[in-house]
């Protein structure tokens, strides 16, 4: 417990100066919370793993049988206080971890009552469709081509390297809260933006709601993570966070289209 408190305190205070342990710091608010939890758990795991692994290696090296006529070791079997100790201490560690988990989980899963923008996201075999208010639709089949909209052309952030922005672009205003309503048109897909530290299944028959508040403008690569059939490997998309003014300029300049019927286009695309 002391370990976790010791970890958690500077964690809250120092924020971004922490080592990442190969993870992403999280480019939105919730993602950053998840990073902090990951960081704390990682440190706790290092401590626990170091102690346990050290004990294993120590006892193997220290107590190995050095000669064939080594004396018979003492045949002890139980040490109740010790056994109680290593039952109770893990319970405490686990409960602390669970408490932090619930705190972060409730933050991450909370859906705002008044988001600045709501986007309907549809996953299908194999591609993504993003429906904006006022009938603006961004949609792309499995493709390795960079986004036809091209954030760079709109004065947005540059798309470099090009592999960072494959598939359709989910264009969002930076600094604003965007709610995503996630659905699937056919099988189970996975909506995953690594730098947001977040993934959620897109499932038939289930409407999943969550929100992002991307802190700074940028391009974030993303990909379907739940195996969904033949072209799963190529089911890319990316998130483009633009300054709000540019975002609204883009939204109003887009031609309004009626929502495409995904079932027919999906089957057409397969031919």
């Amino acid at each position: 417990m002391a370990v976790l408190v010791a970890v958690a305190l500077p964690l809250v205070l120092a924020g971004c100066q922490l080592p990442t342990f190969y993870g992403f710091r999280g480019s939105d608010r919730q993602g950053h919370d998840e990073f902090l939890l990951y960081f704390g758990t990682f440190v706790a795991a290092l401590v626990v793993g170091g102690i346990t692994g050290g004990l294993i290696l120590w006892s193997v090296v220290r107590y190995r049988r050095r000669s064939h006529d080594a004396p018979m070791p003492r045949q002890f079997q139980y040490h109740i206080p010790l056994e109680v100790a290593y039952t109770v201490i893990p319970v405490v560690i686990v409960l602390v971890l669970f408490a932090f988990t619930v705190l972060v989980e409730n933050q991450v899963d909370a859906v705002p009552s008044d988001p600045n923008l709501t986007v309907d996201v549809y996953a299908f075999q194999w591609g993504w469709q993003f429906n904006y208010p006022d009938g603006v639709v961004v949609r792309a089949e499995t493709t390795t081509d960079p986004d036809p909209v091209g954030p760079a052309g709109l004065g947005g952030p540059a798309c470099s390297p090009v592999v960072w922005c494959l598939g359709p672009g989910l264009i969002l205003p930076a600094g604003k809260t965007t709610q995503i309503d996630l659905r699937s048109r056919d099988v189970v897909h996975g909506f995953f933006v690594p730098e947001f530290n977040f993934s959620r299944y897109a499932q038939p028959g289930v409407l999943n709601k969550f929100d992002f508040t991307v802190s700074k403008p940028g391009v974030y690569r993303a990909q379907c993570t739940q195996y969904c059939g033949l072209y799963h490997s190529l089911m890319f998309f990316h998130v483009v966070a633009m300054p709000p003014s540019k975002f609204h300029a883009w939204l109003s300049s887009e031609t309004k289209t009626t929502t495409v019927d995904a079932a027919t286009t999906a089957s057409a695309s397969r031919q």
């Binding site: 342990f21 190969y22 993870g23 992403f24 919370d33 998840e34 939890l37 990951y38 758990t41 990682f42 346990t52 294993i56 193997v60 107590y63 190995r64 049988r65 080594a70 018979m72 003492r74 045949q75 002890f76 079997q77 139980y78 010790l82 039952t87 893990p90 686990v94 971890l97 669970f98 932090f100 988990t101 619930v102 972060v104 989980e105 991450v108 075999q125 390795t144 390297p161 592999v163 056919d186 099988v187 189970v188 995953f192 690594p194 993934s199 959620r200 499932q203 038939p204 028959g205 289930v206 999943n208 690569r221 990909q223 379907c224 993570t225 195996y227 059939g229 033949l230 799963h232 490997s233």
Partner: protein
């Protein structure tokens, strides 16, 4: 013909057994030892098939565009790799093979309780294995929906053809095989123990197999039911897992993981049992915290049945805190096991031979896999890593730690009992070290790949993301693992050509199987030692080195004196 098994008194009267020989013996035997060996050989063959599939996949991933196999072939490969490893190797090797062979010996029984049912289990398992391999030969190829076969992807609309059908039928066949084996093991352990072998004197391997057998009875009927329902959806026009007819796709995930998570422990507990049997023998000490170990096993099994939806954290429709809490709590009994293993080695006299090295490999591998498992049990961290290579690395470390490291520890440990001859320790150690190094080289880069966002089950990835070098490292490790098994095969060859006699008890071991001859005679025992603790054979050979009860300082009590009366 029915024969009556006599409980041996302490006199030698080897039972003369005249039975069929050769192929007829293999087809008609109801001897648990023959059936167990059939299981071991069949599941090892499946293990090698699945291993070769893994190497092909790793070769594919050395370059981003992956030119070795096509997308469809890759999807079939990872599906069959997972299915073979989980359904046809890791489980059957332990509870079909080792348990079948060892449990009746450890409890002092002449055979399994239902020998003919036992034989039927094996034939169903073999049929299921052949059915699954047949799916590579039908038009449309093998199943390509992952070993979990999530609906609706596994529905006829998205996965047409007879490959998926064969996959489903294979699971039904092997599922019944597992259920029969589970019933058989429980009955054997409840009814055929030797006098004095109370429940709390059974070796931990037997305890683990008992608990595993109960998990099998909890989990496998659900899998079989899920598969039958899936079959109805595919062929009889029902809509159980499809939205179109008012079905609930997420029901499939609930059913599958209600099987799938206990299944993970069905694959792990027998191997814990192996390690818990080997470490005390090689440390020349009794198992530290025997009763704690038994309760930890039960706790792991009980909790593991209440955590199925931690595979579904990102579905958005499960009760996150409930499943997260129970998943995290599994760390507690697992921790108890770890510290009991350490306590057993502590101040022991550890012989670092091949079985023990494999056990240490297991401890380190499972420690790493277990710690990342605790991380994954926290939903927010699972949101970060779900379906990425982080998870791939995690469950490979867990499952290779158990099924491969501990599994081969058991194989090297009991091989002298199976065949009455030793395996070469030198070749065994070479096998271990190559496996151990290859293991870490393969899976540590995958953790980093996962944190960088590489999803699992992709056949290609984009150049320029910094993923290629890590993937190449992982592939090199995988081929080192593959190479290590050359030493294993050479070892078997050498022991077959130039046998080194093992004797009945080459390791100075504890449990009853080491009192039988190597290999044991038909109906196992011609004599039995008095059973006064959980290591009767040790007590028999070392009457001066009995277990010291807690609080005592001196030597233990002599066997046969002051035995507590009554039930355990």
């Amino acid at each position: 013909m029915t024969v009556l098994a006599q409980r041996p008194v302490a006199v030698e009267h080897p039972e003369h057994h005249e039975g069929p020989t050769g192929i007829l013996k293999w087809l008609t035997s109801t001897d648990h030892k023959v059936i167990g060996m059939n299981y071991i050989v069949t599941s090892l063959v499946m293990f090698f098939f699945a291993g070769i599939m893994a190497l092909i996949m790793r070769a594919q991933l050395t370059s981003p565009s992956g030119a070795v196999v096509s997308l469809q072939q890759y999807n079939e490969l990872f599906t069959m790799h997972g299915s073979l490893m989980l359904y046809l190797f890791a489980g059957p090797f332990a509870f079909g093979g080792l348990a079948n062979y060892i449990v009746p010996l450890q409890v002092g029984a002449p055979d399994m309780a239902f020998p003919r049912l036992n034989a039927l289990s094996y034939w169903l398992f073999l049929s299921g294995s052949i059915t699954m391999m047949l799916s590579f030969m039908v038009a449309g190829g093998a199943a390509a929906f992952g070993w979990v076969a999530y609906a609706p992807l596994s529905e006829a609309t998205f996965s047409p053809g007879s490959g998926p059908d064969l996959w489903i039928l294979a699971l039904v066949l092997t599922g019944f095989s597992a259920i029969f084996t589970g019933v058989n093991l429980i009955t054997t352990i409840f009814y055929l123990r030797a006098p004095g072998m109370t429940m709390f004197r059974m070796p931990l391997f037997t305890w683990n197999m008992l608990v595993t057998a109960m998990l099998i009875l909890i989990a496998f009927p659900v899998l079989t039911a899920a598969m039958v329902l899936l079959w109805c959806d595919r062929h009889f026009g029902t809509h159980i897992y499809t939205v179109q007819g008012g079905g609930v796709p997420v029901l499939y995930q609930n059913l599958f993981w209600f099987f799938g998570h206990p299944e993970v422990y069905i694959l792990a507990l027998p191997y814990f049992g192996i390690v818990t049997d080997v470490i005390p023998v090689m440390s020349r000490k009794p198992l530290f915290g025997y009763k704690g170990m038994v309760f930890a096993t039960m706790a792991i099994a009980a909790l593991s049945t209440g955590v199925w939806a931690h595979h579904m954290f990102t579905t958005g429709v499960v009760l996150l805190p409930f499943f997260s809490l129970l998943s995290l709590l599994i760390a507690v009994p697992t921790g108890i096991k770890f510290f009991n293993w350490i306590g057993t080695m502590w101040r022991g006299s550890i012989t670092l031979n091949t079985p023990m090295l494999f056990c240490i490999g297991f401890l380190l591998a499972f420690l790493m896999g277990g710690l990342t498992g605790v991380m994954l049990a926290s939903p927010p961290i699972d949101f970060v890593t779900h379906d990425t290579y982080f998870v791939v690395a995690h469950f490979h470390q867990v499952l290779m730690g158990t099924a491969v490291f501990a599994g081969f520890a058991g194989f090297y440990f009991w091989y002298p009992k199976f065949f009455g001859r030793m395996l070469s320790d030198r070749l065994g150690k070479l096998h271990f070290w190559f496996l151990f190094i290859g293991f870490w080289v393969t899976f540590m880069p995958q953790y980093k790949l996962g944190l960088m966002g590489m999803p699992r089950r992709v056949a290609t990835y984009q150049a320029g993301l910094g993923w290629q070098n890590l993937n190449i490292a992982s592939t090199v490790g995988a081929f080192i693992i593959g190479f290590s098994f050359v030493f294993f095969l050479v070892n078997l060859w050498v022991s077959w050509r130039k046998p080194v006699p093992a004797g009945d008890n080459p390791w100075d071991a504890h449990a009853l199987e080491w009192f039988a001859t190597s290999p044991p005679v038909h109906h196992n025992f011609t004599r039995l030692p008095p059973i006064r603790s959980e290591r009767p054979v040790w007590d028999f050979h070392h009457p001066d080195a009995l277990t010291i009860a807690h609080g005592e300082n001196g030597h233990g009590k002599l066997a046969g004196t002051a035995v507590p009366a009554g039930q355990d």
